[in-house]
Each structure stands twice: as structure tokens, then as C-alpha cells.
Symmetry: C2
Subunit: 380 residues, 2 copies
């Protein structure tokens, strides 16, 4: 008997009932049947994302949604500032470059978060910038920024804020309308508990103005003007991955039955428990500003990340993530998104203890799960 | 009791075992588990598409795959000729325009097919053209061209041929390598018997040269250079809709168990049966060069397409397609792709007879199914 447990920070575990929902017989997508799913999906996405902004569903990955936002919002004559503190931040700068846009790519030390002061400074330096793009939760470094204060800075300067919320939407507190986030970008396979294949955008009226005014957008499949026109009729410009839309409605129902405040609280507790457990068994938390949706831990001296991850998988079927690029071999990551609750998290910590113990790491067996239990008892 | 039958020319019916395959628990996509599915999927796609050309899998619709091909192959300084005899042909010209490419958009009367003579003439007129883009089976008009002779014309002139095979791949005879088709574009939700969400490309070495040389491609998510690099490691540059890739392997197994010659023969027989049945009950076939993957029939005088389609759906759960744009209200379409066999086709013809009879159309009841039965007995 070997059970399988998906703890990667996306794709994340999907409820069995969502998978079965998608296995049911389906109709054509240009029908009232599908329009009803689209209406439900967009309305429920608005609730989960705490926004009244228009929501767009794209068949593609989170990167496709981000490309739609960048190419749509940033006209060739405009300037974009990207804040790059990890692999995903860098990707958004690369997209802007690929499309020949005027982009200021601000590097940030991996494992630290950009803040409002940095943004204010950059906007003073580049008063001609039209927009700032930030990663709310940088998955590659497991680092979250204070999106609210960054939004305050961009709003004070009258600039658009594009936020990669791919691993924050549905798991970290996020209030785009209240905070002034113009474009929220997210994807299916993270906290929204769906298999990969859909990207989502919530776009403010101000951002729509920029998009509508941008006549030179190099976008057809990812054209937001077209997408908005169709979305207003609960439709899509191109054939959507409509089974995933159906699954989405079911997945969002599960999240909304709990309510977002409850979900955020649970995710925060799972992350705190993982960090405290890690420290209790002698593992350093990598990030100086850790995200609650994914935790990056540094391996104990002398043990290889690869071996720890292999053992977790071989013994307990736990799929974790390693580090990418400059963090390869330096961290391993456990997600707190998707169909995971606090007892799943306890299980993962328990497995980590067993594996490290057998690999010769010296620590007090049980210290990790005990630390986690205390966090859960206090916070939930 | 009301049964449901999907006869639209995409999305098409999907085998139950494919849907259930996708409902099984899944792993992360950056794993050997998924690489194995990718290897199987690409190898089997090559068999189904009768090609040795490198195959690329894109998460998106067929339009996404077409955009990748156009933007990838056609450099800003190059010229593309698009042959536009329907809604999809027009879409490819629109994409080229949206990206500011130099495009000659050749209009063709809807319901007729472009031929080699037309292509030769256009290439004489535009000797600077780098490529021609043609629709093998134009779904909107249910019209197929002779792709083989068109490929002979583009090859003789040393030009690239991009072919929209979205409703031909897996159902009409197609031999890209033998014929000299440089880019085959197709999608999941047609003859490949999958729900929507994936697009596919088979790209010739000559087309790869053009793609690699094109330094100004406005493509990131749909960048074929990146996609090829990853595909060679059985991987994808961005998170793929990996459940669909798993379903694809199962669906392709079903097609390959029959063998493509058998599949092509069955599809041709279903189309011939539908056309002959249509004529036997007084319905005109719209196209002058009908595709075997979808049939467009004109309604009898005095009856509205909308009413016929509604009755088919209400009484027998048969979902058909209407006409688009200039053909709205003038045709209705029945697909022969996907998980449909000859007895399903007989059923659809029978339902059409019942519906037309009740609506007051005068014809010999049973003439349609009889004509179909004869076709099946002769051809299969």
C-alpha cells in the first residue's frame, strides 16, 4: 500500500468530487447549459477574489493570463516596472521584453519582498511609468509581499498595479477593490483546487480603459477586449476548456461553503505550523518574508534536498517541490494550497520527521508535530 | 428518459473511458510520471497524424495553436497568403493582421474549396510570399480542399504551407510528410476525441528553420522555440493541462487500435451516408466540395434551421450546429468526428426524418435511413 499525496505548490490536490464532476457527460459550449456554468463560475470567482471587477477566464496557464494582462495593459509607448524577486517575477519582465515593451526590470534579492518604499522610489525615478507589476506570492522563493501597501503606493501615484496572485488568490487575504489592485492574475491549479488548464483575470475599470485604448496590442488568442465582449454574454471568443469550467464551479462552491476568511485562516495556520515545525526540528525557513501559501525550508547541513524529497516520495507518496535556478538544491517546498487541511499538514510534517530521522539528522523526534499541534490548537 | 447525443463538429463526443481516465488521481507535471504521458502522447500523435515531424502540445484552443504557427513562422519582413473561404480561414488572416504581419487575404466563395491553380496564381502574383495558409476542412462551411495538390503547388514554389487541420486531422486522409505540409495545426476536441483545452502542431524541419530564424516573433506563451526545447525533454515551458494529456493518450490508443485507414474509411462512409440520406429526403448538401468530417445541409423551403435543431435536441437529445455569419439560418451541420460510429449516424438520420416529418416536410419516410444503410453496406 502506497498512498499518494500532492504537496507541490501547484498543481495542487483536487477534491475527488471535482474530478468526478468533470467526468460526467457534457454538452457543446455554445449553449445555455455552458452559459450557466460560465455565469456561475465568474460570479463565484468574484466572491472568492473579493472583487466586483470583471472577471475573464482564459484557456491556458497562469502565464497565459499574465501575458494577456501585460500585452493588453501596456501600450508600446508606455512603460512598465516589473519587481523581480524570483522566477515568476522574472518571467513577467521577460514577457514585456519579448513583446518589445518599454520595461524597467527591478531585481530584488530572492527571499525578500518588494515593499511600498521601493515602489515609491521607482515611481519617482520613472515618473513616465504607466504601471507596476508585482508578484503577491512568489512561488519560487515562497515569499509574500504586502500587496496592500504597494497598491497604496501605486494608487497615490496614479499608476496601474498588475498583481500576479497565482499562488495567493484563494489562499492569502486579497481585496483587490478595497486595496486598488487593477489586475489580479491567477490560475486554476493552485488554491482554486482544479487541475491545470485555466487562467483568470479580475480587471478594474481603470485597467479596462488602458486595455481599450491600447490599439497596438500584439494579442489575438489572449486579447482581453475580445474576451470581455464575449464574457459579458457568458461566452468566450475561442473554444474554452469547458469541462474545467464545470469543475471550477464545484471547486469554488467548496471554498465558498467555508468562506474566504475561514480559508485564509486555515492556510495561515498550516503555514505557521510548517514553519514552526521546521524550526523545531532544525530546519531554517528560507524566506525573510514567508508566504502562507507555500513554505520553503533549507535542508540540514550534510543532507541533500534531492534525497529528502525522494525519501518523502518513496516512503509516503509525498510529492514536494525543490528549488529552481539559483535555489536548486538549497530549498525544498511544501504547499498549503488546494485540497489540503491542517491534518494533511501534520501528516507531511510527521513524514518529514521520519525521513530526516532515518537520514541521520539529529533532532528531538516529535518536536515538529508537537509544534504544529500547538499552532493548530491556538489558531483554529 | 432523454438521452444526450453530441453531433456538433467540435466539441465532439468523448469516450467514457477517456473521461474516467482523467478523473483518476494525478501527480505533478514535472515528474517522470508525466514525462511518460508526454512521450506517449507525442509518439501517438505522430502516428495518428502520419508524420515524423516534431509535435508540439499547447494548452489552449486550436486558435492558440494557429496563432503560434502564424506568429512563429512569419517574420515581420515576410509575407503570408491566407486562403479564406469561411470563418476559420478568415480568423487566420485576422491573426496575421493583429500582429502587424504582411498578409494577402484571398477571399474564396463560401462552400467552395481553394485549389492548386489558385495557389499557383497567387504565388506568381506574390513571388515574395514566404508561406501560404490553408484550411484543410473549413468547419464553418463543411468544405474540404485537396490539400495534397495545394501542397504540391507550394512545394514547387519553395514556399511554406501552414494547414489548419483542426477538423481534418484524425478523420480525413492526411499525410503531411509525404505531401509536404510544413505545419499541421489541430485541436483536441474534434476527431481526437478529447474535451477542449489542447492544441497540437506538427512542424517540418523547413518550418522550424523559419521559426528559429524569426527573431521578432511576438510570442511568449505561444513561443514555439521554447516549446520545442522543452518538448525534446518530454516537457512543456508552462504548466500544461496535464489531465487532458493523459486523456489524450487513451483517446489516441482507441484511434490507433482501429488504424487510421480504417478510421478515415468509416468517417468517409458516415459523411457519404449523411449526404445521400439528406438528398433522399429532399435536403440539399451546402458545399460544392463537401468535407467528410462534417456535413452542412440546407433546410427544406419553409422550415427554419432553428426549429429543426431545436426539435432534434428536444425530442432526441441531438446537439447539432447551425450556420455562422453569412450562413446563419441557411445551413445546419452534423459532425462525423469523435466518438461516433456508423450506427450513431444512422440514428441521427432517423431522428432528422422524424423531426422533418412532424414539421410537415414531405418526403418518403425511411428514404434517408435506407440510403444510409446502402452506403454502409457498400463501403464498410
Amino acid at each position: 500500500m502506497k498512498k499518494f499525496r500532492l504537496f507541490t505548490p501547484g498543481p495542487c490536490a483536487v477534491p475527488e468530487e471535482v474530478l468526478l464532476e468533470m467526468a460526467r457527460p457534457f454538452h457543446h459550449h455554445r449553449t445555455d447549459w455552458f452559459k450557466d456554468y460560465m455565469k456561475q463560475a465568474t460570479a463565484k470567482l468574484q466572491q472568492v477574489l473579493c472583487t466586483q471587477h470583471e472577471v475573464i477566464i482564459i484557456t491556458g496557464s497562469g502565464t497565459a493570463a499574465a501575458e494577456a494582462a501585460i500585452v493588453g495593459c501596456i501600450a508600446p509607448e508606455a512603460k512598465l516596472i516589473t519587481l523581480e524577486g524570483g522566477k515568476f517575477g522574472e518571467r513577467w519582465g521577460e514577457i514585456a521584453q519579448q513583446f518589445g515593451l518599454n520595461v524597467v526590470r527591478q531585481k530584488i534579492e530572492w527571499g525578500t519582498a518588494p515593499d511600498a518604499a521601493l515602489v515609491q522610489g521607482l515611481l519617482k525615478q520613472h515618473p513616465d511609468a504607466a504601471a507596476v507589476m508585482v508578484v503577491h506570492s512568489e512561488t519560487s522563493t515562497a515569499t509574500a509581499c504586502d500587496l496592500r501597501s504597494i497598491a497604496a503606493a501605486t494608487n497615490a501615484a496614479g499608476k496601474l498595479l498588475l498583481a500576479d496572485c497565482i499562488t495567493s488568490a484563494g489562499c492569502l487575504p486579497l481585496k483587490p477593490d478595497e486595496w486598488g489592485v487593477d489586475v489580479v492574475i491567477t490560475g486554476a491549479q493552485k488554491a482554486l483546487m482544479l487541475p491545470p488548464g485555466l487562467g483568470f483575470l479580475a480587471v478594474s475599470p481603470r485597467a479596462w480603459q488602458a486595455i481599450e485604448a491600447n490599439r497596438n496590442a500584439h494579442a489575438y488568442y489572449l486579447n482581453l477586449v475580445k474576451a470581455r465582449k464575449m464574457a459579458r454574454e457568458a461566452d468566450t471568443p475561442f473554444t474554452p476548456a469547458h469541462l474545467l469550467v464545470r469543475g471550477l464551479v464545484k471547486a469554488l462552491d467548496i471554498l465558498l461553503a467555508d468562506g474566504m476568511e475561514t480559508v485564509w485562516k486555515r492556510v495561515a495556520a498550516m503555514a505557521a505550523a510548517t514553519r514552526q515545525a521546521g524550526e523545531a526540528i532544525g530546519l531554517k525557513v528560507f524566506s525573510k518574508s514567508p508566504s502562507d501559501s507555500v513554505t520553503a525550508l533549507c535542508p540540514p547541513a550534510g543532507l541533500a534536498v534531492k534525497d529528502i524529497r525522494n525519501e518523502l516520495e518513496k516512503r509516503y507518496g509525498i510529492e514536494s517541490a525543490g528549488g529552481q535556478d539559483q535555489l536548486k538544491g538549497k530549498i525544498f517546498r511544501l504547499g498549503h494550497m488546494g485540497y489540503i487541511d491542517e491534518m494533511d499538514t501534520l501528516l507531511a510534517i510527521g513524514a518529514l520527521e521520519q525521513v530526516l530521522h532515518r537520514m541521520g539528522h539529529r533532532f528531538e523526534l516529535g518536536a515538529g508535530v508537537t509544534a504544529a499541534q500547538k499552532v493548530f490548537a491556538e489558531r483554529l
